[in-house]
Symmetry: C2
Amino acid sequence: MSDPRLPSWRDGATRDAVTGFLAAATALPPAERVAVFDNDGTLWCEKPNYIQLDFLVGELIQAVEAQPRLADRAEYRAVLEGDSAAMAAMGLEHIAFSLIELCDGITPEEFDERVRRFFDLARHPERGVPYSGMRYQPMLELIDALRAIDFSVFVVSGGGTEFVRAVSEQLYGVAPEGVVGTQVAYRLDNEDGRPQLIRTTELVGDPNEGQAKIQSIQRVLGRRPILAGGNSAGDAEMLEYATANDGPSLALLVDHDDAEREYAYEGVAGTFDAAEPITVTASRLGWTVISMETDWDRVFSDP
Amino acid sequence: MSDPRLPSWRDGATRDAVTGFLAAATALPPAERVAVFDNDGTLWCEKPNYIQLDFLVGELIQAVEAQPRLADRAEYRAVLEGDSAAMAAMGLEHIAFSLIELCDGITPEEFDERVRRFFDLARHPERGVPYSGMRYQPMLELIDALRAIDFSVFVVSGGGTEFVRAVSEQLYGVAPEGVVGTQVAYRLDNEDGRPQLIRTTELVGDPNEGQAKIQSIQRVLGRRPILAGGNSAGDAEMLEYATANDGPSLALLVDHDDAEREYAYEGVAGTFDAAEPITVTASRLGWTVISMETDWDRVFSDP
């Protein structure tokens, strides 16, 4: 039997847990119906690269066209040559921060425009479709089902806040103020008497992973979730936070176990409990694990 | 002639500026229709005390009932005895921070409950009405008129973020994620295995005044306003920011010039240009000044 609200979800215990939660949540005041979702690997595909990394590599290619000597920098050379050994030696985080420097000194409006242009033109390197087609269709259906019963739906990403905000309305129907991710610091420029924010390369606080996700939910969104969806150790605290109340709650963990239709990989170990795979954490703590292979009849959305 | 959208606004240049802006803004994409309002003195009355200060004094009175020795602290004694000379000597900010310590160590849920209880029970010390009746009716009408043409309306307060969020939906129809104010830091507690945020007495960043308002608009709301309303020097940067674009924009300054129906006082000098009254700044920079006495037919809303 299919559920008309969740047509891409197969019959089974996972969908039953979701529909059971939807039914129970209607007993709560609407203000308490709050759902938060991680983005990379939870709402859209994060393989073979984080989409934001593909964006930054595109920025690098354009920057090098204008200033060829940029290619001499070790980090950039490794990226441009696809030298994965050199990249691994430097570390992905170091590479990412070096790439983010390419957006130093621009306005949030210019950054927003660059991200939108990227989404207009870029294609997934292996599937050849626009990134809008790399969203998970079952998660979009879940978001719709939540909104149909007056849930507020937010995106709590480890990625850059403004990167996600640039497309969150278009891709998920989530307004910019409903997104929080890692936050870059701005300085205020007052050239020609018009105040204007300018991106820096500093972060405000920690990258938005682990405990930082709980803090940023409070600071930026101001609501306590009763549903949290994630897929990696950086989401674990947020999932625990969503279930730490006496009423109905749901912690959903997307398990990437579908090598054929998506990718098969273990949730990244991280801040929560590096000693165990995240799916083991999930069963220990009573989270609902979504097996992409078993529970989803269709994986990707239309572009 | 009255305007059916703005029945409490009198005919005149101020209302014309507002309605002219409303008409012009409909030519913009809805995503650009963004309005931000200061709270104290702009959406609700800030005299004789900031409402949040009245809340904190109430907290103090309850705390002293439970722990009488708290009254020995110089700051608290000055407040309890209404010793305005002592309070002035210590400074309002110092007093406020000492009072905020009374909320140290509680959860955001408990804080929210305390604020709601205050709004249920407290009365304005001079008018005797619930604080919900101290909102400015013309501003509520403006918010409704903005929403009628698909504006997103946000509150950008110098007060505590969570204090305003506790009542923003009820008083202004603004969801918690649409409010940003001064932000208190939280620590994460994990007693009995359930993650829980706990208030501290530290701030995250600066108090939300002046340039900090522009920063927090970007960080928390993620949208650039084209209308900003304020009443004091702490709002000046935000008003400038809203008008620093080439399209339609409106900076509204509430001038408290109505001793009979509200209060008459000069906008506080502050971070922007302490050398001149804020109404002079307004006319120098082309902001629209709302004379409470002249432009508003009715001042306060129903409770």
